[in-house]
């Protein structure tokens, strides 16, 4: 993934909301891992779907992208793809850089 993929521009007035948003994404990552370990594809689909909706709303397009792939992977029961996506999500959350403007 290129460096630009980790840079996100967020409206300044949302600055107060972002710590909670990112905190919830980390909880989400844990939930994804647990659901994958339990092969709970319905839970994975729901989590992916939620990521799709909320990522874009806050300007984190990559969260939406990964969410879409997780939703698709869960629909097809594709464990390997889900593992890859969850690993990418982990990497993204650990490296994302936010610029408030």
């Amino acid at each position: 993934m290129t460096e630009s993929a980790y840079k996100v521009k967020v409206a300044k007035d949302l600055q107060d909301l972002i710590p909670t948003f990112l905190g919830n994404r980390k909880k989400e990552l844990d939930a994804l891992r647990k659901a994958l370990a339990a092969a709970d594809f319905e839970q994975l689909r729901q989590l992916g779907h939620r990521m799709r909706g909320v990522g874009h709303s806050y300007g984190f397009e990559r969260v939406s992208d990964i969410g879409k792939h997780i939703e698709d992977g869960a629909r097809h029961g594709d464990k390997a793809s889900l593992e890859t996506q969850i690993a990418q999500y982990d990497e993204y959350l650990s490296r994302v850089q936010i610029a408030y403007e």
Partner: protein, 423 residues
């Protein structure tokens, strides 16, 4: 103003509440988490709210069922229903179930939310009617009056200079459709009306997978209308959003555009108004051309060179700017301008006025592509040649060039899900 936000996602509820509070600091906003609480029963004071924002997927619940229950109540306030992008049938069902407006969740911006809530509270909370809102209300009212056999007009979704665009559905199966209604001020102009009807006749003749499907046309309430397919993937303008697309993705779209042009040119039709807003995407990522409002059969084009100048200055060919007789190569040029924009995220020519931009098509050499895109320079040069005799002659020539030079283009379906670069 009191607003209830029902969504299973805490972050989304918080964000919507934040946007609304910024616009209406005095507003009372209540968040409702359907994961913690069951559907409100008759004792819930639904009527105390001015607007309810209701998501379509409520964790374990179904937003459409909640909507249906709410709408049974006499005190039901206005409902703004949130749907998923690429799932327009939910929007159709919500509007048929009585939702007062809908928004695609993935595309819901601050501006769209405020605009929607403002319109929903007109006459109660919002007392002042701006000209823009008044025009939209007129559009909503017109949609409600339209009677089209087998079709239900549901909601105004867009307004253009000559027509209004509505989400509609086929009554027998809820298939989402678009109804385009010509504005009354244009209907009274026989020339404009004839052009609108010509659009229907031409598009019907084309029968190409790369051209919007037209299902019906006619008049209702003295308004001319077209019924056409709904594009869940939106338009190129939305995909670009001021950014460059990945080169492979740009070339895939451009190749599909060339196939579309090949199909329409084969029928002797010139589009003459290619622009990002006229390139639509289906849910599978395939591209289709819409809006043949100024298209012409090549035989009908004024060969005297004194034809009228129509089109969008940013994408006009030099010969179009000059008002000269046009041929297939005018669309090839415009497609080249679009390719430049897809690859770079910038317009080929900038200017303060339409005339300034248009004149650059005549006189200014096109800017070169950045170094990392240099492999596409020759293609672009042959597309946006000012001398049309030096340009590709037709879409087939372009497709042949693409196949020879960039034969590793990805298949359309595989690329349809490609993620967009971040900004």
């Amino acid at each position: 103003m009191r607003i209830l936000i029902i969504d299973d996602d805490e972050d989304l509820r918080t964000l919507l509440a934040h946007y609304l509070k910024q616009e209406w600091p005095e507003a009372e906003l209540e968040q409702f988490d359907p994961l913690d609480r069951t559907m409100p029963d008759a004792s819930f004071p639904l009527g105390s709210y001015d607007v309810v924002i209701l998501d379509y997927q409520l964790g374990r619940g179904d937003g459409l069922k909640w909507l249906a229950e709410f709408k049974k109540r006499a005190d039901c306030p206005k409902i703004l229903f949130l749907t998923g992008a690429g799932n327009e049938i939910i929007a159709v069902r919500a509007m048929k179930a009585g939702a007062d407006d809908y928004q695609r969740k993935q595309e819901l911006t601050r501006e769209r939310l405020i605009k929607s809530v403002r319109e929903l509270t007109l006459g109660t909370v919002e007392k002042t009617l701006s000209p823009e809102v008044a025009a939209r209300m007129e559009g909503h009212a017109l949609g409600a009056r339209m009677r089209i056999p087998g079709i239900k007009v549901l909601h105004l979704i867009g307004e253009g200079g000559t027509s209004r665009v509505y989400l509609a559905s086929r009554e027998r199966d809820d298939e989402p459709l678009v109804v385009k209604i010509l504005r009354s001020e244009v209907t009274s102009d026989p020339k404009a009306l004839a052009r609108f009807m010509e659009e229907y006749a031409m598009v019907e003749r084309i029968q190409s997978p790369h051209v919007a499907r037209i299902y019906d046309h006619g008049t209702s309430e003295e308004h001319a209308y077209l019924v056409m397919e709904f594009f869940e993937g939106g338009d190129l303008q939305k995909r670009l959003a001021g950014k460059a697309l990945a080169p492979q993705e740009s070339l895939r779209m451009f190749r599909e555009l060339m196939m579309a042009l090949g199909d329409i040119h084969e029928k002797g039709i010139l589009h003459r108004d290619l622009k990002p807003q006229n390139l639509m995407f289906r849910i599978d990522g395939s591209l289709a051309i819409v809006d043949f409002g100024i298209a012409k059969h090549i035989d009908a084009i004024d060969m005297t060179g004194a034809g009228e100048i129509l089109g969008t200055p940013r994408y006009m060919s030099p010969e179009q700017v000059q008002g000269r007789a046009l041929d297939l190569r005018t669309d090839i040029y415009s497609a080249g301008v679009l390719l430049y924009q897809m690859l770079t995220g910038r317009h080929l020519f900038e200017g303060d006025t339409a005339v300034e931009v248009a004149l650059q098509h005549l006189n200014t050499p096109p800017p070169g592509l950045p170094e990392q895109l240099s492999q596409y320079q020759r293609l672009l040069d042959k597309l946006v040649e000012k001398d049309r005799d030096a340009r590709f002659r037709n879409a087939d020539e372009v497709i042949g060039f693409l196949s020879r030079k960039y034969h590793q283009l990805p298949a359309a379906a595989a690329a349809a899900d490609k993620t967009q670069p971040l900004h």
